[in-house]
Amino acid sequence: MLVAFAIFGTLPFWISEIGLYPYLGAEVLIFCIYALGYNVLLGYGGLPSFGHGAYFGIGAYAFGLAQFNLSSSLWLCLVAAILAAAFFGAIVSLFISHRRGIYFALMTIAFGQMFFFIASKWTSVTKGEDGLLNILRLPADFGFAAYPIQRNIPFYWFVFGCFVVTIIVLWRVVNSPFGKVVQAIKQNEARTAFLGYNVVLYKAAVFTLSCAVAGFAGALFAMAQGGAFVQVMNLQWSGVVVLMVLIGGGFVSFWGPVLGVVLYFVARDLLGVYTDTWQLWFGLLFMLVVMFKPEGLAGIWQGIVYRKQKPRSSASLHLLVMLRGR
Amino acid sequence: MAEPLLILDRVEKAYTRGLINKQVTFRVRADLTFGQSAIVGMMGPNGAGKTTLFEMMTGSNVPTAGRVLCSGKDIHQVKYRERDRLAIHYHQSYQVRHFRRRKPSFMLESAGSDYPLVHLFDEPQFNTQDGYIGFMLDFFRKLRSENRLVFICLHPTAKYHLDILKEVCERFVFVAGGEAKEAPSLDALKEDTRFRSYLGDVMAVA
């Protein structure tokens, strides 16, 4: 956790030194937010969504449209993006929350594709293939002072702030009673229902929550890109977030998705130099992870750490588990 | 209602093979009447048609000829879902067979009964080691006392099977050679050579 903050908190000071660029850092953080939100659904809720790109896209569009039609306040536009994604997520959750496993996954694909098609079709609103352009990085107005975030480095700091806020919120959520119930549902849905919990409602809530976070990330992405494009809503992009979260180890660790995202982007930027086929290798890596280590990178790391700690008493183990949140 | 509980009115089922030159590969007939409640033991070699008879009594298998009247109602004219309100077939799950339904349910009449009148127990398992035999026999007697007709289809492969039959059954039906025949007692059945050959060595024990 501290490591993550240390790395991301100082990133603009060294990223150029290693041959990368601050803009990439911002994209990485945005996708971290997206993936962390997604992991509350997949890793904690056990609900695989293959159509999450839709809500990311909805957030992006909503941010742009709000900026053009509603208000020039950054905060209002962000709220609009979050609400829009949450709203559509909530509607979809009505259809899918009583489903599990494969049916759930396929329904999310179907809805994701529908949103994608509608976004590409509804050109009067989304501007279709051209993309919704000229979305501004509105100044961050804190009341006492407003900071422009047009340039990449200030924008990075802004995104970093969002990242920290998201982490704090999601960390609270997964360790809250709500988070516990969601984890309980993942482990044993029937039992949770028999303990008096309204399972469908919790599933709908966690789906909506993760859609809201996706929408938030989408809005930031729209700012980063200066536009909203329909491609982020397609199946392949939705699949990429699943890949990132699983390879990173979302099943076993809160931080897993961050590892996955960093690996994905850095590999993409660095390996992309040597090979056009890096997507292929990433896909193969994903298959290997599913086959041999569904716990992902975080799982491998935990495996090493726990092996070292075997002699410790169960109480201190518990302490460790609590510290890691799982 | 003074209607007899169950009438197998010249019921016959035949399976044939071949489209033009039809050959009968299987046939079972029954013409029996059960006026009031009783516990009936049913026996017969494998493939003689006991299960087919049961299926016709519960209405799932349509007879080639004849009628099954359950408390005066032709069971094949009763709504599918309500047939088990007249006659119910208890069987091992692997014995379930599915038959085609010709008429839609709404064209049929309702059963007019709440709890099955005829109970058909197809090869219930009797294990001497746990105590369930006792509970099961009690149950048969309870059904009988509540004016139900109980069939127990049982192959007496051991002496205690015969003991059970003797203990609870008042009437016996033996299905063999394509026909269901009734006998008043086990001893009467034993007069039948086919029954003796069906029993084989168990006869000696009995």
Binding site: N175, S176, P177, K180, A205 | R81, P116, G131, F139
Partner: protein
């Protein structure tokens, strides 16, 4: 009047009759047993009673209130709790978390998105008390999946108990346990008996006959016999079986 009652339950899956006219009543404070051979419909019956399935016909009454067809969560909130035949724990939770999630106080806080689930001292004390009650004192921090089988069985009951039920349904609590563990479980259930109303499906007749106040035998989806253990044993066939030789 009995605390929990089933009146004329019917259940069909498609064309298959699974439950036929089941009527049962479980008096308050007693331990009622349900027994029957495999596939007789005991677990289906349990599932109907606890709300997992809606009966095709018939009523389930709890404390004078008709709860037929209500979803499991609603029935559970009224004070009906159950354990499962196949172990149904939250495996990646610790024993303490397992119990914690089951506490009604936790349920009320279920949509609390920011509080700390493990931070409430009062809740944790209550969870610890439940663990102690089922003989798992001190095993709270252990992950459920790392517990021994017997402890898991006990935790299974602990989770059901933590919901502070008025009626506790136990589905084959002894299944898979060795003789010693069965004895310990019997001890635990005997302690609970009298405190709350218990209904237990059980395969192990020795166990059940030793504990139950009354027993219903289910076969072919019907109650084929009911009575006190002594009444059931009166039948000569029963006398000659294993059951007859029990002390």
């Amino acid at each position: 009047m009995a605390l929990f009652e089933a009146q004329g339950l019917h259940m069909r899956f498609g064309d298959r009759v699974v439950l036929e006219d089941i009527s049962l009543d479980f008096p308050e404070g007693r331990l009622s047993g349900i027994m029957g051979p495999n596939g007789a419909g005991k677990t289906t019956c349990f599932n109907v009673l606890t709300g997992r399935y809606k009966p095709t016909r018939g009523r389930v009454v709890f404390d004078g209130e008709d709860i037929t067809g209500l979803p499991p969560r609603t029935i559970a909130r009224k004070g009906v709790s159950r354990s499962f035949q196949l172990m149904n724990l939250f495996n990646d939770f610790t024993a303490e978390e397992n119990v914690l999630v089951a506490l009604p106080a936790m349920r009320q806080r279920g949509f609390d998105l920011i509080g700390d689930a493990m931070g409430d001292r009062d809740l944790r004390e209550r969870a610890e008390a439940v663990l102690e009650r089922v003989g798992l004192a001190g095993k709270g921090p252990e992950l459920a999946k790392n517990l021994s089988y017997g402890d898991r069985r006990a935790l299974e009951i602990g989770v059901a108990l933590a919901a502070e039920p008025r009626v506790l349904f136990l589905d084959e609590p002894t299944s898979g346990l060795g003789t010693d563990a069965i004895a310990r479980l019997g001890h635990l259930i005997r302690k609970l008996k009298g405190e709350i109303t218990i209904v237990a499906i059980e395969h192990d007749m020795e166990f059940l006959f030793g504990l139950a106040d009354s027993i219903a035998v289910i076969h072919w989806g019907q109650v084929i016999r009911r009575g006190t253990p002594a009444e059931l044993r009166a039948n000569p066939w029963v006398q000659n079986s294993n059951l007859g030789r029990l002390k």
